[in-house]
């Protein structure tokens, strides 16, 4: 099985190379088509035309677009994504500094989304053919229509202001140190033996992760329920009943395992969307991640930073898809045979 999975990962990573090239070229061209001049914006407002022209030459903007792309690509391959126009720092280092926080948030959100999605899906299925089915169905549709930023504001208001239970600004309480080992605060605090920092970081993570998780869980709920309906029409479910197995055992041991595969596919896709959904949630909760940085980059039309973040999103989504495909192979024996 390991060989099959490794082969799949290698295939996927090889396929990712042309995808990344196409995405980076598209990103580069689209941003260059915007009616903005990166050279002029890199300089103070009262820079002269001569200074702007010199800067334009310095940035290679006087060359044909394909050549500009190749220069940028060569730099990107060496980890040089150019300098942020607004922050005047290396775009790559800004992304590297903020990416771990966003990954941490997205993973926590996905755990919440999966827990709520699977739990809710089982509940929806359990309520089938009862009076509560319509209510549960409508509730899940209503939840589906609430976007993550609205959840962010609702949770902030309820748990941060009214109940005053959880903090909602930053990644850790003021005054606590932030150990820098891997960049992942939860992990670093444990590695540094700072349990107080770990607990504080967890408390700061709960609301933004819940906001994202709540927004993405209804889709998982509904797909799981549909999959369970399909699975319950299979012969082996009827046979399990004939064998005298309890309904809960049939559901949890037999039906859920098979219904989980389409749900897993959806969760993989959702994770990619969820990752990009961190933008507004990070702003609302002052979470120091890449989404927060991206919002500023867009506001300042900071092209080098937008490119660097855009490409990073693409890489992360491709890696997530590869991981989900691998997991799919692990869980589905049929795919291993094929």
């Amino acid at each position: 099985m390991i060989a099959v999975v490794l082969k799949l990962i290698v295939h996927r990573l090889l396929a990712a190379v042309p995808i990344l090239l196409v995405v980076s070229a598209l990103l580069f061209c689209v941003l260059r088509l915007l009616p903005v001049d990166p050279a002029a914006m890199s300089l103070p407002p009262n820079a002269t035309i001569v200074e702007i022209e010199a800067k334009r030459r310095d940035m290679g903007l006087d060359r044909p677009l394909p050549q500009q792309y190749l220069i940028w690509l060569r730099g990107a391959l060496h980890g040089d994504f150019g300098r942020s126009i607004a922050l005047r720092r290396e775009a790559g280092s800004l992304v590297a500094a903020t990416l771990p926080a966003t990954i941490q948030l997205a993973v926590a959100a996905m755990v919440i989304a999966a827990a709520l999605g699977v739990g809710g899906g089982l509940l929806l299925f359990h309520l089938r053919d009862t009076l509560f089915e319509t209510i549960a169905d409508l509730t899940s549709i209503a939840l589906l229509s609430i976007p993550e930023f609205l959840w962010g504001l609702i949770l902030l208001f309820v748990f941060g202001v009214v109940l005053d239970l959880l903090p909602f600004t930053g990644a850790v309480a003021p005054g606590l140190p932030q150990p820098q080992i891997t960049g992942f605060l939860l992990l670093d605090s444990l590695l540094a033996g700072r349990f107080d920092v770990f607990v504080s970081a967890c408390r700061h993570l709960i609301l933004p992760a819940a906001a994202l998780g709540l927004a993405f869980s209804p889709a998982i709920m509904r797909v799981l329920r549909s999959s369970l309906f399909d699975v319950y029409h299979e012969d082996y479910i009827a046979q399990a009943r004939l064998r005298g197995l309890s309904e809960s055992r049939i559901l949890l041991r037999h039906a859920l395992k098979n219904a989980a595969l389409p749900t897993l596919t959806l969760a993989g896709v959702q994770f990619g969307i969820l990752f990009s959904g961190t933008l507004l949630v990070e702003v609302i909760y002052s979470y120091p991640g890449m989404g927060n940085l991206m919002v500023d980059a867009v506001r300042n039309v900071d092209l080098p930073l937008i490119q660097a973040i855009g490409l990073t999103y693409c890489v992360v989504v491709l890696l997530i898809n590869t991981a989900v495909d691998s997991l799919y192979v692990v869980l589905n024996p049929k795919l291993r045979v094929q």
Binding site: P35, V36, D37, A40, M41, S42, L43, P44, P45, N46, A47, I49, A86, L87, R88, R89, L94, A97, T98, L153, L156, F157, G160, V161, D164, P167, F168, T169, G170, A171, A173, P174, G175, L176, Q178, F195, D196, V199, S200, C202, R203, V283, I284, Y285, S286, Y287, P288, N292, L293, V295, D296, R299, N300, V301
Partner: protein, 511 residues
Amino acid sequence: MTIKLQRRAFLQMAVSTAAGIGASVPFARAVTAGNDAATLGWPNDIPSWDPNQRFTPDAQPIFKAVFDQPLDQDPQLKLIPKLIKNWNLAPDAMSMAVELRDDVTFHNGDPMTTEDFRYTFFERIKSGIKLDTANSWKKVQDIVIESPTKATMKFDSPAPTAPQWMAFLGSYIVPKKYIESGGLDNFLKQPVGTGPYKLVEYELNSRIVLERNDKYWGPKPKVGHITIQIIKDPSARVAAIQSGEVDCTINVPVREVERFGKLAGFAAELNPITRVVLLQVRADLAFADQNVRLAAHHAIDKAALSRAFYGGAAVPLSVVATPGTPAYLTDFTFKYDPALAKELLAKSNFGPSNPVKIGLASTNGQFPSDYDIARAIVQMWKQVGIEADLQVIEYAKYFELNRGSKLPEATLYSWDNATGDPEIFAGYLLNPKLPFSAWKDETVGQKVLKLFNVADYNERIAGYRELNRFAVEQGATIPLLQSVLTIVRKKDLGYNKYGNGWLLPQTLQWS
């Protein structure tokens, strides 16, 4: 490998986690509970820890906590000594002699001398480092050092506002020895200034933690620990002050100021500041016709805009200057008169049935209610016979569009001038050679350019007072409102109110 978790072990783990969580609950509040700590909710992060690099008005109070400027302003905006004890601008404004304090050290213990002064205002700029101060100090031809405390700045052309700029954007003295020996990257990571606070923690887009500089040469801050939480979302800032996560915040919606004003334990203020909201206008396209420009101005009910969007606290302006600043005119009012606007348009054969078509650009979210103000203006103009096509632009693109003559007839704009000096109001906004001005006509332009070279203060101010009136009568600018800064704070946290809106951490004080 299978991990077997015993029930007892699980329960122990759960209890210890709960205890940890319980123990940490009061911590966030405890940080700000004492009289020696305060947390501020701030709407923007700083662009960089190099204070000379970018001109960002909102970041100035943070820079002023860590760094010192050569000169300072008092709450009424009068220039006062800071690192410079004495200064003497030559009558021709071609040089300025300065005497620095001799008792100032940087946070790392190095003494601050004229070497640092020369490095900040001359050497760094000439060495090609991309700094915004390169433009504000580009007239500096040399700085001649006479002693560790005495130097003379030499300019290549008159610099009458050099003293004002010593207390303005980006003019902070940075440590030459520390930057040159440790490198700029090290300075950006561990900035060292001479200010009343030292930086102890910085997390991009999240938090700045400052600690009192106990060796500060000036008055020591009353609050020893300042945490600045970067909270960009206005609703989140409101929630943060209401829940007690922060002790004070700025730039909250006006309606929230009104609500907090009624809540026990909070003080809420709408403070008019030295920031103007205006329409930057062009001298060509449909606005080549002076009747149309003046009609556009007469048609705007500024008091109504103030009531609708700033709770009536924003003072309607007739000139590009704020009340209390040197070139503000108390005896001149450009009246709201839609009938007169119609008359003026009729002279140019326009009217409600045959409207003149213009473009109006506005940012959306750059300053409070900007886009809503623009929409209201479009409606006011429609009443008299001006049909405006409203378009949203990014603030970052303003200069580029202006440089390429791509701005429409009018652009809603906000202009900050912490000094209150008229050169940095009308001078910059109407100087055809500067990128801030959309107005490129020479009639007004020549008057402005002359004033840039007037060295005598009284003559210069008199000139700007005359210019302010002339520019408005010509329709070269349409001033709208004096902007306001909204502040909500805990009632027992006091601060010094500055006319330019600075909320300085070093002035905070618990009662």
